[in-house]
Symmetry: C2
Subunit: 931 residues, 2 copies
């Protein structure tokens, strides 16, 4: 510990620092400059970028001994403030170059460092800079960020007035459908949007810091937990185990179909009898400091009997596999699709029949912000949990019984969230911090490090798929047969639901009258399955959109035209037998076709012997809503100031719930002529707002959008006088008219029947993807050089938000296709190790086209957005690889070695080791080796 | 504990707060917005002012339950930042409207709130606003603050360009002698100048919070200390008592004259055998949080035998008084002045003889920032103490033996300091935090609350004075006899030194050839005596400058002219027989005379029956330096960048050590043509810089100014090439010439002899004061309506700094004359209770004139500043009261009731109860009542 003077943001600060302390910790925990965010904590993500003596550094890996005395440090707080935005900050806002905002300060600081040394960078130089400095963004796809930097540079060079970067309200005062910047923008670009870890530093004195005890094994029997040594460690307040959990100590999956062989009560809060997967926690050490908690956690002794671990679906389905949850078969759910006639006879005589086998990997969500939250007991004696939850009411009911709480004694609040992409559809640490607070009576804070984020939160569940299509001589599809096994990890929650997505989306987009399929949910010992953007559809379309290309190839037909003749037109039905609500595909194909032809020509002329260029297309569809009837609530309240407050639980991953709520409320309330700033948002606290349902399945824009519209309409109606003018707040009070109105809305959807037939969603999103790739056939490496997409998301609520969602989805599609995986428990635990797409992995050339078909049920015609762009971009890429060089990749990611192998020996099927190549497992997918 | 959303500085923040928590704590400890300073903690000082929903509030008394959800809060951080200063901030800088900077954010926030509702306030409206909102400043005297607000308002109204507020460097690049703003200004106006409490919030995890156990009694025997119950309280790490202190457990006064009857080892670190005064600490509770420490401190049981407490010098000098320090007489030091001939014969035959008796109260320093500091063990195994110390090397040697540390194992660092005015010449909590850290091994933080600041830090020691003057028929002084008793409280440190000040300054300014006096230091049980600005001179001049007026009155002579004929001219000597180094008084009187005549005329014409206007003058003198030879060191180092770093221990109360160091270094280094920003300051860390001596006695500007000049000259000489040009850093290294040079300087002063004769200082400051007052003879209330001063401080180092020192000194003089006291242990424990001068107590009409006589020994001709303005302004006020209404006030402060009493029955002497009227004591000054 030594005195060190740092010149921080122009001001000399004297600090007492440990020479081994990290600069990021000193900035955040000592100087309380929480604008510097810590993501990965290992120097891979750039969220913590600051400028030290003119040099950009990743502060999470810089020890204080490396920071010179009197070093000059610039953090986001020193670049600009809410009252004095730097052009970079203004440009990020006006370009919508931010979503969750977690990486934003790091990007802005990084860009500042670049422009300090290069005032006129090219786009490619900007990209090179962010690549070199590892600025990672998981939300935006980078293009809008580069746009922002280029514009800010223009302003800084004096080539453009700064006012060009400010949003100008249109003359008609409209917000809906414009590029109005999201309300949280200013906080996000200034580093004052407080994420969970930031709020953790703002908790009252006496807050305990938690550390988890996680035996590093995938399957074991717990024979004993000895906390005695840990309890004696310095600063330890209590070591909490399953014995301290007052309720059932289980998180319930809630939604289980009657045919499910499990009961949904299989996920422990703190593991008591068994360890089911790597990362499972058996204890929480609560101490005065994180350092003390971490040190004591190492002293908890866990006596284990290690069992063979079944690390994928085939292994767990083997005849001799033991039941992971004793009493429940490892295949715990199975469904059938029966649509139209029996398919076997059709297959037997069809002109063209084709089949294929596919594997989609355990894609990790990789938010830059690791999971984080805290709990405390409030003045009403309720346990209040703050977390990244994207389903606050859902989670309340999932964890209350396990904790032994009546639902009215539990409150869940969503913190500003550094993205989830769906993993927070599952509760993660919510129950743990609640249990810790209940056991200690004190506020408890728990933040995962990025390793824990990766190993101990849900993942996209791998699908093992087999698919067969029959078509007539013209390519018109006649029948489909499918079989898919979902590796859902050890915990059942929503596993059955996910499995139904195969029934809904395999073959979706095409009018296939006859289907026979079977899908199943398999319990394994690998990472548990949680929601991930486009939930179930990337797996589904991997099969059907790959196989469509294979069919076209076999028929020597253009794959776009094969799709075109089969796509939904009036009279067509979905795989679940539903009539689509709109039919935009023919128009969309017509828009894409000329671009496709140009791309094909470019591929033909630009391919070389070693660098083969190819073009691939795919279509994608996703429903907006939960499966079946889906309800949301919201309220609108007239305030004494004349402003209106809108309350709902439209949880925000970063996708733009703030903007959505504002846009729908503002549009509905237009007769009141309110400025956008007059609409106040009250969001995401179960004690304050109604249940709007979780933020998943692109449902909120539709379902909660309609609920907001309903609430605001009720308020308007109450305010309206006979002469058509509107009452003031005082007039309402005087006339004893309620100023707060709750609205709700329910989809006219139905659950699917036992044949997986029904109308599960009332609105769908329709998307086309075209990918242009260059494959280096000497190395197998694929570069995606351009992505084009045509999307119909209904009317567009906010153009910046929708563009951002599309760019971001495409970037994740590139990662899904080429690099991302969570299979190897050693290798796949870092951003880089897991194949995170950095800026140079994501093409700067993306073209987005929209068809805005108003949806009859959508609020102001809107559908959803988020899931659409990630339904099948990866398949367009795989199809482009095949188009380029003839390598058909059936199990992804399409690592270079897989492409090389496919070039050498094309095959139609593959074994487990192909699918999970490079993995941690011993053969057959059963982990028996101890670390 | 509940969730609360606050819109802070334009950004919505979600916090978890206790409803009983204070807003200031939430802002500082949870949101880490430490720009909001907490001074008194009781809503009396305005340092914590913030704007809540448009209304200015004192955040230290606002509980969170009174802050509405979604309240809009503006703190200093939201007004402007270093990169984007608000016009108010710029104006405070350019007007020098800040010294220590502790009250500055509160003033700026307050002014912002005013200008938000009144864009064009008059000066009086500004003053009314600050009065109403209790913005207290102890340093500046308010005028420069009002100037700044008026100018900022002009800029905000668009009547003046903002650039007018920016400092323009003169064409010659000179800094010395200009209005260059002090280097710490920007940090101070933006709230980023981190004081001890702010740094406390930036300490590493694991820092312990300390609470003192202070039995509330003034004199007692300690029979036992039981910490067992406290040790068991939540969060308690250790309760430290005298048993844990490794060394002698005493703070040594170091400087004791051989004739002192004490040994200087009388102040315990933690009291062990006796309680000597109210506030003495017997234990330190070290806990995880302040709340826990405070709660446990209440559980320490102290078994006491209460003794009679001697609360002033007459009581302690009584024959039957017990020895407070057994074995040492209560009168522990006595000195004699013998100059010239025996005085008795002269008195016997002089034309005019006059005598008087006077009492100057225990003036409290009343910094807005209470004492605060912390300690830790550094990587070199040294105990490092950070505090408000204004004598870091001095304190090191005063506390090391008591702690049981070798001096090289102790480091003292001065934190940014919210003013001391001298009380930090004594160590306060330095030894306590060091003892706590040594006993716990952990960093320990201790902050006094304002009550502790007032009751448990040193005070200005009361003097009980008797004085007699003889003059010839023309008023020429012939002889003086004096007797003074110094109530120094229970601890001897520097008490003998203070007593010598009477020998040096009673009668100073006049050529008195024959003096016989005696002074003594008395041990009492009231607040211990520590240094206070102008140390010993306000007491000295109270006697001689009052008596000069009485003499003039008796002679029916103009009091200014009586002074004029007696003042120092060549051939005169000081009371210690020294020849003054310069003789500016005649010129100064000539400057003042026309203003004095105008004032007299104004008083004559404007007096009414009930409101009597009067004019009073006084002179003051103070030496620059410690008594006798005084040495300072400094170094200058050429850095690789070509910048020069200057190191010294010129501790800063707020008086401007930063500016002084910069000005002297810049001026000396002018051949290098450095920009001011190229001179880096390394200040106030005993491990890094040489001993420049303490910041007291206006010595630093002279002694350290010369040392800086010496160091920079050595560096210049080393850099100079044969051709007169200067070597670069690289050239120096190449030629193996040292780049770091240490300079030192020692005054050519001598210690006084046994007759108190000698040349203790080589440079003096000379000041004249004129006060114009209005006395309401119906109430006795005195208003000071104008203060005029003519000062000779040598050449002026920085005009803003010197003006600020003068304004501030005059304000403290008004408080000293009329309202300030620390006598009553119940009443005098708050700012308001102690008579703190708020803005409306301090006239807005102050006129400052300078005579700049270069001092032969001064660096660039400079003398000191700080003490000059507080030598005798209070006496000018007392003389003006007498001039107005004939009431001669002999014991101050001149409360209205005292003025009324003096009007009713004038008397020449007084008893103890007159002097300490309204006090806490029972009669005779012996506290025997238990609370």
């Amino acid at each position: 510990m030594n005195k060190k003077i740092l010149v921080v943001n122009g001001i000399e600060r004297t600090l007492i620092v440990d020479q081994d302390a990290l600069l990021s910790d000193v900035l955040r925990k000592q100087l309380h400059l929480t604008g510097t965010k810590v993501g990965c904590g290992t120097g891979q993500c750039g969220a913590c970028n600051v400028i030290v003596d003119g040099k950009l550094v990743r502060s999470c890996v810089v020890k204080m001994k490396r920071v010179e005395n009197r070093a000059t440090i610039t953090t986001i707080e020193g670049i600009g403030t809410a009252l004095n935005l730097h052009p970079l900050q203004q440009a990020f806002i006006s370009h919508g170059a931010l979503q969750c905002g977690f990486c934003t300060p790091g990007f802005i600081v990084s860009a500042k460092a670049l422009l300090d040394v290069n005032a006129s960078p090219t786009r490619e130089e900007v990209r090179d800079w962010f690549q070199k400095n590892r600025n990672a963004c998981r939300c935006t796809g980078y293009i809008m960020i580069v746009d922002a930097v280029m514009d800010a540079a223009k302003v800084l060079r004096g080539e453009m007035p700064a006012s060009n970067l400010e949003y100008k309200m249109p003359a008609d005062g409209k917000v809906y459908g414009t590029c109005y910047p999201r309300p949280t923008s200013v906080a996000k670009v200034t580093g004052t949007w407080d994420f969970g870890a930031d709020m953790g530093l703002q908790l009252p004195e006496g807050t305990l810091q938690c550390a988890l005890v996680q035996p590093e094994v995938s399957h074991a029997i717990i024979k004993g937990i000895d906390t005695s040594e840990a309890e004696k460690m310095p600063g330890v307040f209590k070591v909490v185990t399953h014995k301290d959990v007052k309720g059932k100590n289980r998180i319930t999956g809630l939604i289980t179909f009657p045919t499910n062989k499990g009961d949904g009560w299989d996920r422990p809060i703190l593991n008591d009898e068994k360890i089911f997967q790597f990362g499972d926690a058996v204890a929480i050490v609560c101490a005065d400091t994180q350092e003390h908690a971490d040190a004591a956690a190492k002293k908890v002794k866990v006596d284990l009997e290690v069992l063979p671990a079944y690390m994928n679906a085939p292994a767990a389905m083997a005849d001799d596999a033991m039941e992971i949850h004793p009493g429940t078969p490892n295949v715990y759910y199975e469904l059938n699709v029966k649509k139209g006639d029996e398919t076997a006879p059709i297959m037997a005589k069809a002109a063209h029949v084709i089949e294929g086998e596919y594997y989609l990997q355990r894609q990790p969500h990789m938010p830059i912000e690791a999971d984080v939250g805290f709990a405390y007991i409030d003045a009403q004696e309720r346990v209040v949990v703050h977390s990244k939850s994207i389903g606050i009411h859902l989670h309340l009911y999932m964890i209350a019984p396990g904790l032994g709480l009546e639902p009215d004694k539990l409150v869940i609040v969503q913190n500003p969230t550094g993205a989830t992409f769906g993993y927070k559809f599952s509760p993660t640490l919510e129950a743990l911090v609640a249990a810790a607070t209940m056991a200690t009576g004190r506020p408890c804070f728990l933040g995962y490090n990025w390793y824990q984020q990766q190993t101990y939160t849900g993942k996209r569940s791998p699908f093992w798929l087999k698919l067969k299509l029959a078509a007539d001589e013209n390519g018109k599809l006649l029948a489909m047969e499918g079989d898919w096994s979902v590796d859902h990890g050890p915990y059942s929650e929503f596993g059955d639901l996910l499995t139904t997505r195969g029934a809904q989306f395999i073959g979706a987009g095409y009018d296939i009258k006859n289907i026979r399929s079977v899908g199943r949910t398999v319990c394994t010992n690998h990472g548990w399955g949680s929601a991930f953007r486009s939930y179930g559809s990337p797996q589904s379309f991997l099969a059907s959109e790959s196989l469509m290309d294979e069919l076209a190839k076999k028929m020597n037909m253009d794959p776009l035209e094969l799709r075109y003749i089969n796509c939904y037109r009036p009279g067509a039905t979905t795989p679940t037998g539903q009539e689509p609500e709109v039919f935009p595909f023919p128009e969309m194909f017509d828009m894409l076709r000329p671009k496709y032809k140009t791309a094909l020509e470019k591929a033909r002329t630009e391919s070389t012997d070693t660098k083969k260029r190819g073009v691939g297309v795919s279509l994608g569809i996703y429903g907006c809503g939960l499966d079946g009837p889906d309800t949301s609530g919201a309220w609108a309240e007239l305030l004494p100031s004349g402003d209106v407050m809108v309350g709902n639980s439209w949880e925000d991953h970063g996708q733009g719930a703030d903007m959505g709520t504002l846009a729908f409320a503002h549009e509905t309330l237009r007769p009141l002529d309110l400025k956008p700033s007059q609409i106040k948002l009250c969001l995401n606290d179960t004690s304050l707002v109604p249940n709007s349902g979780p933020s998943g399945g692109s449902r909120q824009n539709v379902v909660t959008g309609n609920a907001i519209k309903a609430a605001c309409t009720l308020l308007l109606n109450a305010m309206r006088k006979a002469d058509g003018s509107y009452r003031t707040y005082d007039e309402m009070v005087k006339e004893q008219i309620a100023v707060k109105h709750e609205g709700s809305w329910t989809t006219p959807s139905t659950h699917m029947d036992e044949n997986s037939q029904g109308n599960p969603f009332c609105i769908y999103m329709y998307v086309l993807f075209m990918s242009e790739v260059v494959v280096d056939v000497t190395t197998g490496k694929t570069d995606v050089v351009k992505m084009t997409t045509v999307g119909d998301y209904g009317t567009i609520t906010n153009r910046l938000v929708v563009d951002g969602q599309v760019y971001g989805g495409l970037a994740q599609g590139i990662g899904l296709a080429l690099s991302e995986d969570f299979e190897d428990l050693k290798k796949h635990t870092t951003l880089i190790g897991s194949g995170f797409p950095f800026i140079k992995d994501v093409t700067d050339d993306m073209e987005i086209l929209y068809v805005e078909t108003p949806r009859p049920e959508g609020p102001f015609g809107a559908a959803g957005v988020g899931e659409g762009p990630l339904t099948s971009p990866h398949v367009a890429i795989l199809n482009a690889i095949d188009n380029a060089c003839g390598a058909r990749i059936r199990s992804i990611p399409a690592y270079p070695e897989k492409v090389l192998a496919a070039l050498k020996s094309p095959k139609k099927s593959f074994d487990v080791s192909d699918a999970v190549a490079g993995g941690y497992m011993s053969q057959g997918g059963i982990e028996t080796l101890k670390k």
